[in-house]
């Protein structure tokens, strides 16, 4: 197993990496190679072992077995410091930047200073700007990082790695936070970087992007490599099957349905974002009973504000919102009126330190039979939770399992169970499939369809076009706080929707 890998152009070889957590094998004898000048995509569902493998590479986790070779020599990577020394740079999905420091300060942070103990940033600044110019990675060097756009912060992360002499860059789902045009730019930069002999590991679960930018693809499933292929030979269907192990399709099951009575009526609503600027501008939207209206758009175009407005958590500056004729504030507590699946289930959707049962009755704990004569009745609460666990197919050890012990998909089912158990007239789902693997996405979408078929009005906000196409009955596009167009949910209108997501208003009305 541990013989010297043969290819001389190999920049990185990971050989037979195994990492166990208790009974669970996160990575099972994973071998993986990145050549010089190559963009190598690492594809797999959540939990397939990508993250663990990269943590091993970056010295954050020690493997139980296996070796890492760089430039044909075995290396020990005991810490991120070792990784950096070996020319490995990592751009984490959540940026590792200090918000109050400037770009230059972030770059030199933790590095030996030439004139220690004095801090001299002028050389560093020059070198940073040089790098930025060379690779078209524009950043503003002297502004606190929190003021930079997400795209710019990402460029800064890449610069930080380059500044430290990275020859192998790991980009962990870099496109998740970018607008389509920024994605194109990032891909150009990636090409430029590998042209000089660097290697890039590109982690993603979006097949289209992987096919577009990578040279080779390695697919992981359940901790094992299911295949390594040259990108031109890959097909979407083939990759998908390698990832999931079975044919999964997130596609329509029935033609779009037409809603009946209007449940959610938003009329010319304007509201302010957290920074005090208008986040929504005169937005109007109606969602009817028995239809799913999908809201497409790049993150940060007013989705969060829209959702919070409807949930009565954010005041309107102008205009009005009615839910079945009532103010949002008045229905927030009425679980038979409004169900709300928040965007961030860890922070907003669940109390992870509480049990599944407690999370299911989070909003209705004060009602009979859960509270009787002023006291909580745990018997009734647990019995109810048991029932919901069955109805919604939540996989857990029982009502008293901690919510934090559940997988993402099952956590989301807990949230959906809580929000739909009373059959609300309106269901607002904000990015309900974010971070879920394909199997769980299927399950969540099926639950949304069920609710629609029951007669609920559903507003589905998502950045994932395939799932919007799969379940929406109409799609509207949110850009810059406005709904700039509407399209039927079909592949034929994909281009149009993409255009609108970037802010191009449709020239002609679509039938």
């Amino acid at each position: 197993m541990a013989q010297k890998p043969e290819s001389s152009r190999g920049l990185l070889h990971m050989v037979g990496i195994t990492k166990r957590y208790g009974d669970l094998v996160a990575d099972d004898r994973v071998s993986f190679m990145v050549r010089e000048g190559e963009i190598h995509a690492l594809l797999g569902e959540n939990g397939a072992g990508k993250s663990t493998l990269m943590k091993v590479l970056y010295g954050m986790v020690q493997p139980d077995e296996g070796e890492i070779w760089i430039d044909g020599t075995p290396v020990q990577i005991a810490s991120p410091h070792d990784a950096v020394r070996n020319g490995i740079g990592m751009v984490h999905q959540r940026f590792m930047l200090v918000p109050n420091l400037t770009a230059v300060e972030n770059v030199v942070l933790g590095m030996r200073q030439p004139r220690a103990p004095l801090l001299d940033l002028s050389d560093a600044r020059d070198r940073l700007m040089e790098l930025a110019a060379d690779y078209h990675l524009e950043v503003e060097p002297d502004v606190p990082v929190w003021q930079l756009s997400v795209g710019m912060q990402q460029r800064l992360e890449i610069l930080k790695a380059l500044y430290r002499g990275a020859r192998l860059l790991v980009l962990d789902e870099p496109t998740a936070v970018l607008a389509p045009s920024e994605v194109t730019h990032l891909f150009r930069v990636m090409r430029l970087l590998v042209a000089e002999g660097r290697g890039i590991i590109f982690i993603s679960h979006k097949l289209s992007e992987v096919k577009e930018v990578s040279d080779r693809i390695t697919v992981l499933r359940a901790g094992r490599v299911t295949g390594s292929i040259e990108t031109p030979e890959a097909t979407a269907a083939g990759l998908s099957e390698m990832m999931v192990g079975r044919q999964v399709s997130i596609s329509r099951v029935s033609p779009p349905s037409v809603g009946s009575t209007a449940v959610l009526e938003i009329e010319r609503v304007t509201c302010l974002g957290d920074r005090g600027t208008a986040a929504l501008r005169e937005l109007s939207l109606t969602v009817r009973s028995g239809e799913i209206v999908g809201v497409a758009g790049v993150d940060g175009n007013g989705q969060r504000e829209l959702v919070e407005l409807i949930a009565g958590l954010r005041p309107t500056a102008d205009g009005q919102i009615l839910i079945d004729g009532q103010q949002p504030r008045d229905v927030l507590q009425q679980t038979s009126m409004l169900g709300f699946i928040p965007e961030d289930r860890h922070r907003e959707g669940l109390v992870e330190d509480m049990t599944v049962a407690e999370n299911i009755v989070l909003k209705i704990h004060g009602r009979a039979p859960f509270t009787d004569r002023g006291l909580l009745r745990w018997g009734a609460i647990n019995a109810h939770a048991e029932e919901q666990i069955g109805v919604y197919g939540i996989r857990c050890s029982g009502p008293s399992a901690r919510a934090s012990a559940l997988s993402g998909g099952n956590q989301q089912k807990v949230v959906i169970a809580r929000e739909t158990q009373d059959g609300p007239r309106l269901l607002v789902a904000a990015q309900p499939t974010r971070g879920l693997d394909v199997g769980a996405v299927e399950a969540v979408l099926a639950l949304l369809r069920q609710q629609r078929d029951r007669g609920a009005a559903i507003l589905l906000i998502s950045t994932e076009l395939p799932e919007l196409l799969a379940v929406s009955d109409r799609i509207v596009v949110l850009h810059g706080g406005e709904i700039i167009g509407e399209a039927p949910p079909s592949e034929d209108h994909l281009d149009l929707i993409g255009q609108m997501m970037m802010g191009h208003r449709p020239v002609t009305a679509v039938a």
Partner: protein, 363 residues
């Protein structure tokens, strides 16, 4: 899919950290005692003898634990809601003052009524002292840590003024120490055992701990309080009116700290003294930490601290060790507890990784 441990297992695990911390603190302190030239086993034996070795020793332990049991409960209840009322000291002084004001008045009522009135005043006094920090926290987002802490000093000074022998409205004129006159007989808490000073305040504290346990575990208010403590954002999304809950928890917490002061005056000292508390309010923080904010755990933790203090005098007589070794043991126990919970938290995060690997929590 991970199987969560049973709640019994969880309870055992929760108790394991404090117990281990105490043992570790005793072990480390043992080295210090050894360095001082005393056999630690002798010292600890004297301490056990002096705290639980005889009925009268037990009574002393009970007396010592009573105020910190109450201040510990005050801090614990705020911890559970994610709030840090560390102003127990000031609230205790104000509670003592308010209770004394009632207890000093001669009343032609049954003793029980006088006691209840005075205790009620103590609760209100403590709650009133936390009113402003509670308001600022709930409605203006001002950190309660800073405001409650600062009001401690003010509270102590207020009592100094009240009992000043020359101009204090409650002060005993011409007394050599700043103190009030003795409170009415009818307002004194009954003594539980002959020829000891063990008073009914201990029962009040234990009863209150049980009550708080029920409140946290079995009432909708307690449910919301735990939500707020575990995830305030999710609580808001679930429609909890966090301002109201925060006000209520803070006032409850301040009231309980006020009771600690009331009980100390009515059960033990029978006068309002200047600077009568050696830091019971702060000890309450330590007790609540050691108990991981569990009301039942607070009884045990306060009992342990009370025993340490009660046993320290005999230990000093037998071994000539400084009583301050007790403070070292206390401090070490807290440090180990914090380290222990920190470690268990890390362990938990470590254990979560496979869940991420298998099912896909994602962040």
């Amino acid at each position: 899919m991970r199987v969560s441990v049973s709640s019994i297992g969880a309870t055992v695990r929760a108790a394991a950290v404090p117990v281990f911390a105490i043992l570790a603190a005793l072990a480390v302190s043992g080295i210090l005692i050894l360095l001082a030239g005393v056999n630690p086993l002798d010292a600890y034996a004297a301490m056990v003898q002096g705290s639980v070795g005889s009925p009268s020793a037990l009574a002393v332990t009970g007396v010592r634990m009573t105020p910190i049991l109450l201040t510990g409960l005050a801090v614990a209840i705020s911890f559970r809601a994610g709030l840090f009322n560390i102003g127990g000291e000031g609230q205790l002084y104000l509670g003592a003052a308010a209770a004394s004001a009632i207890a000093l008045i001669p009343m032609d009522v049954p003793s029980a009524v006088h006691i209840v009135l005075a205790l009620g005043a103590g609760f209100v006094g403590g709650a009133a002292w936390v009113l402003v920090p509670a308001y600022l926290r709930a409605f203006r987002g001002v950190s309660e840590v800073v405001t409650t802490l600062m009001l401690n000093f003010v509270g102590i000074i207020v009592v100094s003024y009240l009992v000043d022998p020359s101009f204090g409205p409650m002060g005993e004129r011409g007394a050599s120490y700043a103190q009030s006159v003795p409170i009415q007989q009818s307002a004194r808490l009954p003594v539980l055992a002959e020829r000891t000073s063990l008073h009914a305040g201990l029962l009040l504290g234990i009863g209150l701990a049980l009550l708080l346990y029920v409140l946290i575990r079995f009432t909708p208010f307690g449910f919301r309080l735990r939500m707020l403590g575990a995830n305030p954002v999710a609580a808001r999304f679930a429609g909890v009116k966090s301002t109201r809950e925060m006000m209520m928890v803070m006032l409850l917490s301040g009231g309980i700290a006020g009771l600690a002061g009331a009980v100390e005056v009515m059960g033990l000292r029978h006068r309002l003294f200047d600077h009568f508390s050696p830091g019971y309010g702060y000890d309450g923080i330590a007790v609540a930490l050691l108990a991981a904010a569990s009301p039942i755990g607070v009884i045990a933790a306060a009992g342990f601290f009370g025993a340490l203090r009660a046993g320290s005098s005999l230990m000093q007589q037998v071994t000539r060790l400084e009583v301050s070794i007790v403070l070292i043991i206390q401090a070490l126990a807290i440090l180990f507890v914090i380290a222990g919970f920190f470690r268990s938290r890390i362990l938990r995060i470590g254990k979560r990784t496979p869940v991420q690997a298998s099912g896909g929590t994602h962040d």
